[in-house]
């Protein structure tokens, strides 16, 4: 009997190892008429598959494609209307490489054990939805990007979950781009825009990367309702805008970063209604033009609110938890300006290693002196109308009748049991 059980267990053990399915994917692709849908049965398939026609490749639950050698699992070249969905992809280098595709849809893909997840170039009308990319735990310089998109237009990336890669979403020379509802963590940059225009980043969550959003040489970008948290390494930023023209940064929650938002060489940046919490430095600016402004933001628990070079940027109508002014007119606006100028902050811009002295007694004293001296001067980083009350978000308490009924029943039952116990 024991022998039989052992044999069955051994059989199951061997059966659970890699099983290569018989279905010939490449043959099916080659045979299919343009516009056809190919359903790949569950199982593991080894190979490097090439698509050059309109086609839908759909996996069943348990369909896994594994690359052979260093070639990608799927290569899609110079075609239109291709959909890949519902499968797991793995291999040595890239999972999917698409070039010159008009109308590419990638949905419900699980990409693992790979250097680069998806590489797209010279394509348009690209939709990437519900993709999971999990890299290994090596240093980010030894890994590729989760999704990399080059020289393309009209691209949407949404609901992706990317972890442990170099850059979660790397975008270079892309026009008309929407990145939303993605979650990217433990990578170098969560999302990295370069040389792109008309881009939108909404409702994304970035955690524990070197920098959450790295935006470089990009114009016309809207960054709204994102959550950027725990970018607190030596060179960590919640968001860094370098050489950016015309950006709106609004309604984001930026917390526990070394620097919340940094602006460098940028023009026309509006930072509005964001929540800066517990950052080492909330806002930093270098070579920022005079039209860039931070207004109606909430600054709470940050060690340093703002720092800049001599050029500075504008602050208006923000709430600062360290503001000590009064409001005799009772209009909700402080009667004396808030001064964010800090000599130490300006030194720290030039020498980042000074950050290690940021809360030392001498620096605290120096900052207090700065605030007293600069109140009478018209300098940079002064908010003439600081808010004294932060906008309260009041949530209406909704009653959950189901929970209330269950609770009441439990209380009544407990009381009955207790009473019966007492009677006995």
């Amino acid at each position: 009997m024991v022998k039989k059980i052992g044999s069955v267990l051994l059989f199951l053990l061997f059966m659970s190892q890699t099983v290569y399915a018989d279905f010939d994917i490449q043959k099916s692709i080659d045979k299919a008429k343009p516009g056809a849908t190919i359903t790949i049965p569950a199982g593991q398939y080894e190979g490097n598959f090439v698509l050059t026609k309109k086609i839908t490749l759909r996996g069943e639950q348990g369909t896994e494609l594994v690359a052979l050698g260093d070639e990608p699992v799927l290569r899609i070249d110079n075609t239109a209307t291709v959909t890949i969905e519902n499968m797991t992809l793995s291999g040595n280098k890239q999972a999917i490489v698409a070039s010159g595709v008009d109308g590419l849809e990638l949905r419900y893909l699980n990409i693992k054990d790979i250097h680069t997840g998806v590489h797209i170039q010279r394509s348009k009308n690209v939709q990437i939805q519900h993709i999971e990319v999990a890299g290994n735990k090596e240093h980010y310089s030894n890994k590729g990007n989760g999704l990399a998109i080059f020289k393309s237009e009209d691209v949407v990336v949404e609901d992706a979950n990317i972890d442990h890669v170099q850059d979660g979403i790397y975008v270079e020379e892309v026009k008309n781009l929407l990145v939303q509802n993605n979650k990217i963590s433990n990578s170098r940059y969560g999302t990295h825009f370069m040389y792109s225009s008309n881009a939108q980043a909404f409702h994304n969550t970035y955690q524990n990367n070197v920098t959450g959003l790295m935006i470089m040489m990009t114009s016309d970008i809207s960054i709204k309702s994102n959550h950027l948290e725990n970018h607190n390494g030596l060179n960590g930023y919640g968001m860094l805008l370098y050489d950016v023209q015309q950006a709106v940064v609004e309604l984001n929650t930026i917390m526990n970063n070394r620097t919340g938002v940094a602006l460098q060489k940028s023009t026309g940046i509006q930072i509005e209604c964001n929540d800066f919490r517990m950052n080492q430095t909330a806002l930093e600016g270098m070579k920022v033009d005079g039209t860039s402004m931070a207004s109606n933001n909430i600054f709470t628990g940050n060690i340093m609110t703002a720092r800049s070079d001599q050029q500075g940027f504008l602050l208006a109508n923000n709430y600062y938890d360290d503001y000590s002014g009064i409001d005799l007119e009772n209009d909700g606006i402080g009667d004396v300006p808030y001064v964010a100028v800090s000599s130490f902050g300006q030194w720290m811009v030039r020498q980042p290693v000074y950050q290690y002295f940021v809360a030392s007694p001498s620096v605290v004293l120096l900052t207090s002196l700065d605030q007293q001296i600069n109140k009478t001067e018209n300098t940079v980083l002064v908010d003439d109308a600081p808010k004294l009350r932060m906008k309260q978000i009041t949530k209406i308490n909704e009653m959950n009748f189901k929970q209330l009924l269950i609770g009441l029943l439990i209380v009544i039952a407990s009381m009955c049991l207790w009473k019966r116990g007492m009677m006995e």
Partner: protein
């Protein structure tokens, strides 16, 4: 005798202090080094550059274009030496003596498309397989239109 020893010691000190200071490249530290100009982490070491300043400090760059932007902004007076990685050998070479090739299709971290080579011959050899480009020397880089070219 003591007098002579003193003269010899003084001469040695003078000679040591008068010798030309040499500057060498340092290792890039992936965890902490970021480009002085654009703040990018250095992950593609094969395109990195560095400047050894006369005061002993080093400035690190992720792309030749950033290194040239630093020189534009700060001049050459304080520079002891400048290094860039040779595209073929992935070794540090002198920026001032190197040969450069520009091709807008060459990828670099900032997409400036200028690669460095130790010799003109190796640059020509590279172009034979990777596509023709415009051959440049350091002087040309000072007037070069850095930025993306479409």
């Amino acid at each position: 005798m003591k007098k002579w020893i003193l003269i010899v010691v003084v001469c040695c000190v003078i000679l040591v202090s008068c010798r030309e200071k040499t500057y060498g490249p340092r290792e890039i530290v992936g965890e902490t080094d970021v480009c002085k100009i654009c703040n990018m982490s250095i992950v593609h070491h094969e395109y990195a550059g560095q400047i050894a300043l006369k005061n002993g400090d080093y400035e690190i760059f992720d792309d030749l274009g950033c290194l040239m932007e630093y020189i534009h902004a700060n001049g050459e007076d304080e520079i002891g030496a400048a290094f860039i990685k040779d595209t073929i050998k992935n070794e540090w070479i002198d920026v001032f003596k190197a040969t450069f090739v520009y091709n807008m299709e060459y990828w670099t971290p900032m997409n400036y498309g200028v690669l460095a080579f130790e010799t003109k011959d190796s640059a020509i050899e590279w172009m034979a397989t990777k596509g023709d480009g415009q051959v440049l020397v350091y002087k040309d880089l000072l007037d070069f239109n850095w930025g993306i070219h479409q």
